[in-house]
């Protein structure tokens, strides 16, 4: 600023000063912002992005990690019958579990929502217990439930006159058992999100449809389902990711057995990569999950954007 400033200059600086200080402030603002995001960025970079690319690199090494073998590990896996069993089981597990969690979670949400307001809290609270218990530990409880001679499930079957089942030692029942535990664990999550969705539907819609004489199934078909379409889809996609990535249940209940029939990507990768020490092959198995995760993530993001737009 010139030392011999006139009245005009003073007026001008008075106009300029707020603008400049705002710009300064903005600049310091983004500096502060970047600084505050730095720990987050370091975390994502160091513990998610870098390991991801590192795992691609690892998957292209030989077992002793001394030579680069390109896509040989992936090619080798596709020639193994066990690997295809893992792929089929992963898809079967994910598909059946997500489907039943959605159906049961929706049913429970609708039923709880139909109760008098006061009771809802209690039932909602109780229903969330399976979700709250650490899964590895509740799987341990299920392991005991499935025990064939001294435990609960076969006792009930015998009492009602059905022959006891070898829950975890027969391939079919072992698959059934691990999927059932996942449904037990995940249904509460579906219930709670669908219930929140049901609460967000304006009551007037139901009131006016009642005046028009719509029956309960009609209201479900023409009001509830269309209004919840987005939540139903996003929750199922989200659950697809989490369910495909299952580890705890299968590791605790069957360790992939009997005869590798219940392995999914996560447990098989653990078996190869950590338990038997073939890190590159284990990394390759894990990476097979990635395309499905990426597609699901894409649609989740789109679903969320659509509903906020």
């Amino acid at each position: 600023m010139s030392p011999n400033s006139t009245a005009v200059d003073v007026a001008a600086t008075a106009r300029v000063r707020p603008a400049r200080s705002l710009r300064l402030r903005l600049r310091s603002r983004s500096a502060v912002a970047v600084l505050m995001c730095l720990p987050l960025l370091a975390l994502i970079g160091g513990l998610v992005a870098y390991p991801f690319f590192y795992s691609i690199y690892l998957s292209m090494l030989n077992k002793r990690e001394t030579a680069f073998v390109g896509l040989a590990n992936f090619a080798y896996l596709t020639t193994r019958e066990t690997f295809w069993m893992v792929v089929r089981m992963s898809f079967l597990f994910t598909f059946l579990a997500v489907f039943w969690k959605a159906v049961l979670g929706f049913t429970l949400a609708v039923v709880i929502n139909a109760l008098p307001q006061r009771g809802q809290r209690v039932w909602r609270g109780i229903s969330l217990i399976p979700w709250v218990m650490p899964l590895a530990l509740s799987s341990l409880g299920w392991w005991w439930i499935y025990e064939p001679t001294h435990s609960a499930l076969n006792w009930v079957l015998v009492v009602v006159g059905i022959s006891p089942k070898p829950w975890l030692s027969d391939p079919f029942w072992a698959k059934f058992s691990v999927i059932l535990v996942n449904i037990w664990y995940g249904t509460p999550f579906f219930m709670i999100t669908y219930l929140a969705g049901l609460k967000s539907i304006p009551v007037e819609l139901y009131e006016s449809s009642a005046i028009d004489g719509a029956s309960a199934p009609q209201r479900l078909r023409y009001i509830t389902l269309p209004m919840l379409k987005n939540i139903i889809a996003v929750t199922m996609l989200f659950s697809t990711i989490v369910t495909l990535a299952t580890f705890d249940i299968i590791r605790v209940l069957t360790r992939g057995g009997p005869r590798q029939t219940t392995h999914v990507f996560g447990t098989y990768a653990f078996e190869l990569g950590i338990a038997t020490g073939d890190v590159p092959l284990g990394a390759a198995v894990s990476l097979f999950m990635f395309p499905i995760l990426a597609v699901s993530a894409f649609f989740i993001l789109r679903g969320i954007r659509q509903s906020t737009a």
Binding site: C37, M133, A136, T149, F238, V242, F247
Partner: protein
């Protein structure tokens, strides 16, 4: 009159049906924890016996399994390790998340949108995708078979969701508040601590519960990164190390599982509304 009576009758029947359905769900949901708790109080003799109805205790309850847990196993070490891991994980995760959420929700800057999307995508990355490269990285850092490796890796499972959750809470705070504070000459850190945090307490509680639960329940990472008994946490210790010994180890095993489940379950019971608001934050936004 008759029509109204019929309608009321139909409504009562519908309500009754609702209670029957809920009853079935509650039995399905609560049977495993009930069975676990019941078994933990039964004598070995009774667990082994095939007589009578197994769903009640007939021959007297016992605390022996709990006693043995504390005196004959490493259970207390696992418990201590779980606490030693979870406390720093929660603190570190919350600090990182609060700073990032504040910056992303308030200090509109170039790249904020990209980072926000990246945070959300990272939240979708499951632990079973990256445990093998992380196993190698932890080996390189010399942290293999150390519980501290978990303090390093757990925040990556927590921070993305916690940040995303807090952005939602911060965004609901009126902008006038921070403008007033800025005029008063407060810097961003003061503003965050003195204005945002007090208003966002429900969000902070929800995020803290989430952080605690993830860290306490984690199973894959501790299973992959730690193996000796003195480094194991509750989940892996209970599942892998308590199994040894007795043929009828079920009582002790269930006692361990029940005790290990208690902290997150109690937290849920006392802070249910915060827990649920955190859980549904995603869906109501979706």
């Amino acid at each position: 009159m008759a029509a109204r009576g019929a309608r009321r009758g139909r409504r009562t029947a519908a309500l009754l049906l609702c209670y029957v359905i809920i009853g079935l769900f509650v039995v399905f949901f609560l049977f495993p924890p009930y069975w676990m708790a019941l078994t933990s109080f039964k004598t070995n003799q009774e667990i082994e016996s095939l007589e009578g109805i197994p769903f009640v205790i007939q021959k007297g309850a016992t605390l022996r399994h709990y006693q043995d847990l504390f005196t004959k196993t490493d259970f207390l070490i696992y418990f201590k390790n779980s606490v030693l891991v979870t406390v720093p994980v929660v603190v570190i995760s919350m600090v990182i998340s609060v700073l990032a959420a504040y910056a992303l929700s308030r200090l509109g800057f170039a790249g904020a949108g990209v980072i926000g999307t990246a945070v959300f995508l990272v939240y979708l990355v499951p632990d079973s995708l990256l445990f093998i490269p992380l196993f190698k990285i932890i080996g390189t850092l010399g942290l293999l078979n150390s519980k501290w490796s978990l303090v390093l890796v757990y925040p990556s499972l927590i921070v993305p969701f916690a940040t995303w959750l807090l952005i939602g809470y911060f965004a609901s705070i009126p902008k006038e508040l921070d403008e007033a504070a800025l005029v008063d000459g407060a810097n961003h850190l003061q503003m965050l601590v003195q204005i945002f945090l007090p208003v966002a307490v429900p969000g902070l509680i929800a995020a803290t519960i989430f952080a605690f639960t993830v860290s306490w329940s984690g199973f894959l990472y501790p299973l992959a990164f730690t193996f000796s008994s003195d480094q194991q946490v509750l989940t892996t210790g209970t599942v892998t190390s308590l199994i040894k010994g007795d043929v009828y180890h079920w009582g002790g095993l269930m006692a361990g599982a029940i005790l290990a489940c208690l902290p997150p379950v109690l937290l849920y019971v006392f802070l249910m509304d915060y827990y649920i608001s955190g859980l549904t934050a995603g869906s109501t936004k979706a």
